[in-house]
């Protein structure tokens, strides 16, 4: 994550939507993969790719649980991810503040 400027990992529109959606949850709460997919209108493949990139940067973490034959994948924004979004917001404000 850069010290200043716009974080390129979050700046991509799809990933920004993912991070912003997860940030709306209280800290410690997780969102199911299917609900996130419904909310953002993404295909499962696209969502998996974007989540993987965010997970590699430790911005999100995912957990897969199994209840009988049903498996549930949940996604949560990490503290690092929340901090990165805050920095991104601040950078955007600084950038657009003069307009």
């Amino acid at each position: 994550m850069p010290d200043d400027g716009l974080d390129p990992l979050i700046h991509v529109p799809t990933r920004l939507k993912i991070v912003a959606t997860l940030a709306a949850l209280p800290e410690g709460d997780a969102l199911s993969f299917t609900r996130l997919q419904d909310m953002l209108g993404l295909t499962p493949g696209n969502l998996i790719i974007q989540l993987r990139k965010l997970e590699e940067a430790d911005y999100i973490s995912s957990e897969k649980t199994r209840n009988g034959s049903v498996s549930l994948t949940t996604v949560v924004l990490t503290t690092r991810g929340r901090t990165a979004l805050d920095s991104y917001r601040q950078a955007l404000r600084d950038l657009l503040g003069g307009l």
Binding site: P26, G28, D29, L31, S32, T34, R35, L36
Partner: protein, 154 residues
């Protein structure tokens, strides 16, 4: 409610009207909350035991009110002080305890403030209790909104 004097016991029309409003309000609240929190899991979600205790307390408040009516307690207490203050205390204190258990201190403080409004209302006259409750809740909600807005701007 048409024909309802605010400081007298409810008319025949007011009671079913109030009950219907309560049912519609409760069903709508649960439906919206269920839709909004679909797919959400984690520590802030209510446990079944917490829901049962909260609902039982809430029903208990109005069951006691029914007992007050049945035993002929004065209208000023039954329809004045009690419904204006006791529900706020009964909702505020358990909610504060639940939020404290989750270390959610903002919501804990908000719930305690609601309970304090209810307790303050007990020291007012029956009509004043409704005023205290109305103004108090309004201030608590506005204060909470101001804190949230300030945090979002920071």
């Amino acid at each position: 409610m048409l024909g309802q004097h605010p400081y007298a016991h409810p008319t025949v029309v007011a009671v079913p009207g109030a009950i219907a409003f309560g049912i519609v309000n409760t069903v709508a609240t649960f439906a919206v909350a269920k839709r909004a929190t679909a797919g959400v899991t984690g520590r802030t979600r209510l446990r079944a035991s917490e829901i049962v205790i909260s609902v039982a307390l809430w029903i208990g408040v109005f069951a006691v009110m029914g007992v007050l009516i049945a035993t002929g307690v004065s209208d000023s207490l039954t329809y004045g002080l009690y419904p204006a203050c006791v529900p706020l205390i009964a909702a505020g204190l358990p909610w504060a305890a639940i939020m404290a258990g989750r270390a959610d201190w903002r919501r804990c403080a908000q719930a305690l403030a609601i309970a304090v409004v209810g307790i303050a209302g007990l020291f007012a006259v029956p009509a004043g209790a409704w005023l205290v409750a109305g103004v108090g809740i309004c201030l608590v909600l506005l204060g909470t909104a101001a804190i949230v807005a300030r945090r979002q701007r920071a």
